[in-house]
Structures are given as C-alpha cells and as structure tokens.
C-alpha cells in the first residue's frame, strides 16, 4: 500500500472561548492520495478553514495526528505552497511581481539565473508574461490571484493548499482561474487541497470532495468525482454526472440527505 500524500487521523480541534470550549472538529479522518485534487465543502462556519490551518501547520490539532508523506506534521511542511482568498493581503505591495514570486525561492539555493528562469516559467504558466516589474496593486484582482498561483507553482510544491481562492473575483475571471488551475494540475500534478463554498467549482475541479457537517464537524461523506479529465467549462458542466453530483453534494451540505 502506498503512503498517502496527506493523512488526517482522528483530528479533533477545540478552541477555548470565554463561554467555554468551542468544539470545531470531531475525529476527522481522511487521506489525500498523491496527485489528487481534493475539495473541502460544508456549510459556512463548519470548520473548513480550521482544517486547512491544521494542514498547513499554522495550528496544531487538540487531538489526533496529521502526517505528510508519512511524517508527522509539527510546523509548515517542506514543499508547501498556499493560495489564499485575500490576494491583496497575501502578496507584498512593496515588492514587484517578480520579487514576490522569487522570494520563497531564496531558501532553495538556486542560482540567480535559475531563479529568474523559474519566475519567467511561472509567469508564463499563469499567462502574465511581461508583468515582472509591475507591482501587485497595479494589476487587476484576477491578475493578482494569478501572481499568487505563480508564486505557488514556482516553489515546485509537493502540496498546494488553497483557501477560497476564487471568492474575491468576478464570475468571468473565476471561470478563467478555474481553468488555469486545471491546466496547472495537468502540467504539474500537484497534490491539492482546496476549501470552497462553491459546490459547482468543487465538482468541476476535484477528484474527490470531502463534505464536512455538524457541530463539532465530522466528515459527513467523501464523494468521488468520476468525470474524466480534461474537463471544460462547457462540456463538463453540461455532463449529466456533473448535475447529479452537484445536486447530491448540495443536499449533503444543506443536511437534506
């Protein structure tokens, strides 16, 4: 049996609050297979982002364990990249686009020219060639999120974590970015965990969808999305399996099923 990329075992998370302990996660267990794209969905406030913080090593679970490639997680794991909803807060306004992307590479002991090459490649991948010397705030929202994605793929991550990555852009840009993520997946095959409240998006992008539900939250169900890749906005969203899956997941998130 192969080791899963990420293994979440019996994870419990409690926060102390002035009104007593807030139980957020209750014995959550799930394995993310190598190279898979997994979405975490659930009603708002259920603890999706809490689970994501645990996966990135920003917080430690009260109970249970998380392993990344067999190693127990204590801090942010090597080879982690993140894309957050709030790109304006996650990029550095005082650095150019190129510098934003190259900064995490400093630790990688790459030569200056190799770093430059990597920045160029990453920008080309997200369709932003020519913006190296711009500052993030000179770009549109969708372009800024592309910079975040370029920064993520530049480190050649083994794990990519995305928290509501497309929630702050308009609908058209959202479709473009979704397709960009599919392309990145196709080109690099990075193991990806994404939190989203958009069920259509989860179905469109994922291999598997984890539905969190309850208070404290537990894994209510894991839905396999058996729609073959490559996917496309027109064909995939018209596929009868797409409609069935989104209805099923929607029902589970709402607690109807």
């Amino acid at each position: 049996m192969t080791i899963p990329a990420i293994s979440i075992r019996d994870v419990t998370m409690d926060y102390p609050t002035p009104d007593g302990v807030n139980h957020v996660l209750d014995h959550v267990s799930y394995d993310v297979a190598e190279g898979h794209f997994v979405s975490i969905v659930g009603p708002s406030g259920v603890g999706k982002t809490t689970l994501l913080r645990l996966l990135t090593g920003l917080a430690s679970p009260t109970g249970g364990e998380i392993h990344v490639r067999g190693e127990r997680l204590t801090s942010s794991p090597e080879g982690l990249a993140v894309v957050l909803q709030d790109y304006t807060r996650s990029l550095m306004p005082w650095l150019t686009v190129a510098k934003n992307i190259s900064l995490p590479l400093r630790r990688a002991k790459m030569s200056r020219s190799a770093v430059q090459e990597r920045v160029q490649e990453s920008l080309a991948e997200v369709g932003l060639t020519g913006t190296e010397r711009s500052y993030p705030w000179q770009l549109s929202g969708g372009m800024q999120q592309r910079v975040s994605i370029a920064r993520a793929i530049a480190v050649r991550p083994s794990i990519l974590v995305m928290d509501e990555p497309f929630a702050s852009v308009d609908a058209q840009t959202r479709f473009d970015l979704e397709d960009l993520v599919l392309k990145v997946r196709d080109d690099f095959g990075i193991t990806t965990v994404m939190v989203t409240h958009d069920i259509d998006e989860a179905v469109y992008l994922s291999d598997e969808i984890v539905v969190l539900h309850g208070k404290p939250a537990a894994v209510r169900d894991v839905v396999k999305v058996e729609i073959p890749f490559p996917r496309s906005q027109m064909a995939t969203r018209n596929d009868h399996r797409f409609a069935e899956l989104r209805t099923r997941v929607y029902g589970m998130v709402r607690g109807l099923e």
Partner: protein
Amino acid sequence: MPGIIRRIPAGVISTIIALLIWQLIGSFGPLAGDSFATASEAIAGLASLLTDSTFWAAVGQTLQMAVIGFVISIVIAVPLGLLIGLSRFSYRSTKFTFDFFKVIPPIVIIPIAILAIGPNITMGVVLVIFANVFAVAIQTAYGVRDTDPVLLETMRCYRFGILQQLLYARLPSASAQIAVAIRLAASAALIVAVVAGLVGGAPGLGNLLMRLQSGGQVEKTYGVLLALGILGILMSRLIVRGQRRIIFWSGR
C-alpha cells in the same frame, strides 16, 4: 482673470491674505503699538537679520541640535521599536513605560538637564532625543504589531524565518507608521531645539530670541519667528519628499 489666479500656487494666495490681516491688526487693532510688529516690520526685521552673522550662527546651532538629536533618536528608536514589536509580550510590557516617558514634556526635564549637562549644544541634543525617542519607538512597535496576520501566515507557510519576516513584511508594513512618527519627530526636534535655548540657556535661535526680546529689538524678534516658521516648513517638505520615494506603495 481666473486663469491667471489658477496659475498662482494656492499657498501663495493664503500667505498674502494672512500677511495682510497681520498688517491690518498690527496697524489698527487693539495690539497696535511699539511692542507689536506689523507684518512689514517683521519682514524688515528678518531682512536685517539675514545680513547678520550672529543670526546665521544661531541658525546653525539650532539646526545642529535639531538634526543631530533627530537623527540619533531615529537611529535608536526605529530598531528598538522593531525589537519591541516582534513579540506581543515585549510590546505589552514596554508600552506602559514608554507611554509614561512619551507624555512628559521635554521642557520639564530642562532643569535636570542643565544640572547634568550644562547649558550647551549637548543639552539641546539630549532634549531632542528625549522628546522623540519614546514616541518613535512606540509608534514603530505599533506598526510592527499591526502587520497583516494574513501576510505573516502566508510567509510562515512558505517557511520564512523570523528575520526574513521582519525584513520583508514587518518593517515595510510598519513604514507608514514610522513615516508619521518621523515627520512629527522632525517638527518636535526643531521646537525642542529652540526651547532649549529659550528656557535652558543653550545656544541657537531660542537664545537669540531671548536676547533680542530683552534688548527691545521688536522687529528682529519677530523676524526670528518668521525664520523659524520657514525653517519648519523646509524641514517637513524635505522629509515628506524623501518619504514619498521610499514608501511608494502606501495609500494604494
């Protein structure tokens, strides 16, 4: 006509109006008389000072105290503030002490400073440092604490160390706060350098002001006031211009 007016800088018009009002009050108001100079007399006083070498020496001494004190307080306070701001504990535990010193007006320590140092340039420099170092340090520390947690968490995910977080995130994001503190410190430095001469017997424009006043030289006394105003404006202009270049992203 409106076209011509629009081409004149706004500041010039308001300055002319202010000088006119001053002239009128000085000539006809309740204060009119020998001890209150009109705008034209003050300008004449300033003009006569400009050819006076003691005036220029005093300007040099005041600027020396203000600039040296200002630079030393920034050099001490900004790194100190960065360190204090790094942890919540050090910020909280230092804040009270620093706020305490911050609200003590520098003028009240003049008696102590005269005893300890004597009425000279060094005393003026020390007063300027005392006036600024706490405020700038606290403001810097506040700016550092105020760094966006989302950015810091992003950096932690990418495994940036504490030093890199300080250099690439905390320092630049605190720079807007630091800039405000520096601007305030610059004008405070000039004021305190003058007060050091006025009250504490240190050399410079404050001292000159005292001597002119007790010598009954009304026009020149007012001339010094004008000179101080102009110096203050020049200093803050210079600093604002420098800051715009350094923190170009702020306000975006």
